[in-house]
């Protein structure tokens, strides 16, 4: 009985759906987290009687066919790259991007990764780094004992050096854009890396060419909405149960067939 296997694909799909939803809920308070959604499609159909085939030599054709589907498959878990709300923190090195773009981070192995999580720190050399200690591009070093660290919406980093009264600009942070943000590969630590699907990174300056601007003293919250996640969770759980019921029904039918033989 095919229904057993069809329902099994349904249960597997809903299990994956719950997994995606639980990861979203687990990351509700993760800075710069972007929610994922499981996308499903129906599987192949067996055309037991194909529509439009001839039923007689007079040219009569079947107006309806018998198409038996074989269940559901998962096609992807795309990320929704919508803007998260900004929450003020007051820390001068907490940066949020308002609009499109990612901070470019150089990993210890020399490769680059991209993040929306702007909770940066300063390392022993005075460089702006992530919480893991990777350098935020283009690598701006803040001189010791300087005061008044300001990062404006264009990403210009300026400080008042020791013994002076006028601020000097140390450099400008870059933002990287991708044509297909949803095609980036998530590598954990709130980081993404480039893939063939994301397109090549387009480095640019904040507030130019479609890139967003930078808000100092703010962090971007996750774009997870608790209400919609919970209602999705309920829907997924009920769908899982109903698929389970189909398996029970198919089993019952097989059982009654088996019982016919004494």
């Amino acid at each position: 009985m095919r229904a057993l296997y069809t329902a099994a694909t349904g249960m597997m799909a809903q299990e994956l759906n719950v997994q995606v939803i639980s990861n979203n809920i687990a990351n509700m308070r993760t800075t710069g987290y972007k929610r994922q959604r499981a996308e499903f499609q129906d599987l192949l159909y067996e055309h037991v009687k194909r529509i439009g085939t001839q039923t007689s030599d007079q040219g009569n054709i079947l107006p309806v066919g018998v198409d038996l589907g074989s269940g559901v498959k998962t096609v992807g878990t795309p990320r929704l790259m919508s803007q998260g709300t900004l929450s003020p923190t007051g820390s001068p090195l907490d940066l949020a991007i308002r609009g499109d773009g990612f901070f470019k981070i150089q990993l210890p192995d020399g490769t680059y990764s991209y993040t929306r999580d702007g909770s940066f720190q300063m390392d022993a050399q005075g460089r702006i780094v992530t919480v893991q200690g990777s350098v935020v591009q283009p690598g701006i070093t803040i001189p010791q004992n300087s005061t008044g660290l300001t990062i404006n919406s264009q990403g210009q980093v300026s400080v008042v050096p020791q013994g002076q009264t006028t601020p000097t600009v140390l450099g400008q942070l870059t933002l990287t854009r991708f044509i297909n943000n949803a095609g980036l590969l998530s590598v954990g630590d709130n980081m993404f890396t480039e893939t063939p699907a994301s397109g090549t990174p387009q480095d640019g300056l904040p507030n130019t060419d479609g890139a967003g601007d930078i808000q100092q003293g703010n962090l971007e919250s996750a774009n997870v909405e608790a209400v919609s996640e919970i209602s999705d969770l309920i829907a997924a759980q009920r769908a899982y149960e109903m698929n389970g019921k189909v398996i029970t029904a198919a089993d019952q039918m097989l059982q009654s067939t088996a019982n016919m033989m004494r």
Binding site: M1, A3, T6, A7, G10, A13, Q14, R37, E39, F40, Q41, D42, L44, Y45, V48, K49, I51, G52, P63, V64, G65, V66, D67, L68, G69, S70, G71, V72, V75, G76, P78, L80, S82, G99, D100, R177, F178, I179, N180, A182, G183, A197, S198, G199, Q202, T208, G210, A235, A236, A239, M242, N243, K245, V246, A249, Q252, M253, S256, N259, M260
Partner: protein, 252 residues
Amino acid sequence: MSNSALVGLSRQVALGRELDVVANNIANMNTTGFKADGSIFEEYLSPTARTPADSKISFVRDRGTWHDMTQGPTQHTGNPLDVAIDGKGFLVVQTPRGERYTRNGSLQIGPTGNLMTADGFPIVGDSGPITLQPTDRQISIAEDGTVSVREGTSTADTQRGKLRVVSFDDAQRMRLTKDGSGTFAAPAGVTPQPETNVRVIQGAVEKSNVRGVVEITRMIEITRSYTQLSAMLQQQSDMRTNAIGKLADVPA
């Protein structure tokens, strides 16, 4: 075997197929743009089988499956690349096997900027594929399917194309076959008409139109009739066993 057993068997085979259809509907309860299937049965009069009183015997045969094309509920997602179609239309997808039609409007951007489905087939616009530029932002899709963006720092809208929304007339729509991956294929010689009487809703997707209650009720009905038939066949068998036993019982 007697005719009654064969009639019962024909119904059980049909019920087995019907449960397959229900199982597929329930498996696709959360599939975007999925349309539920139903089964149609017909009476099949055997040209040769006759009862002793010479009346015809009718069997059950599954004649076809039909697609329930009613509108599914619209779920708001907030994703600018999600579109739901309010009305009878379909989006057109270019696949290697030819044009396919879908109600699944969760669009993606490909590496070259083309709008495509989640499995990587381009969505057809009124004038070829719809391509976005790397500097595009604020994608908006109007109710008639026009895709416009703000390019770079510009504050004026630039059009990038228009989603092709097509429809079939009622007779043609009945002959669409499901082609997997949420798409429908049109039979040879059937070309869809451009549809203007639809509304493209951005930031929402059309959920599956499978109604859980209906499917579960159908499933209960299927299992109950299947069990009843089994019981009936069992009684037939018992009856025959008894008859053989009693008739062949030679008194000593």
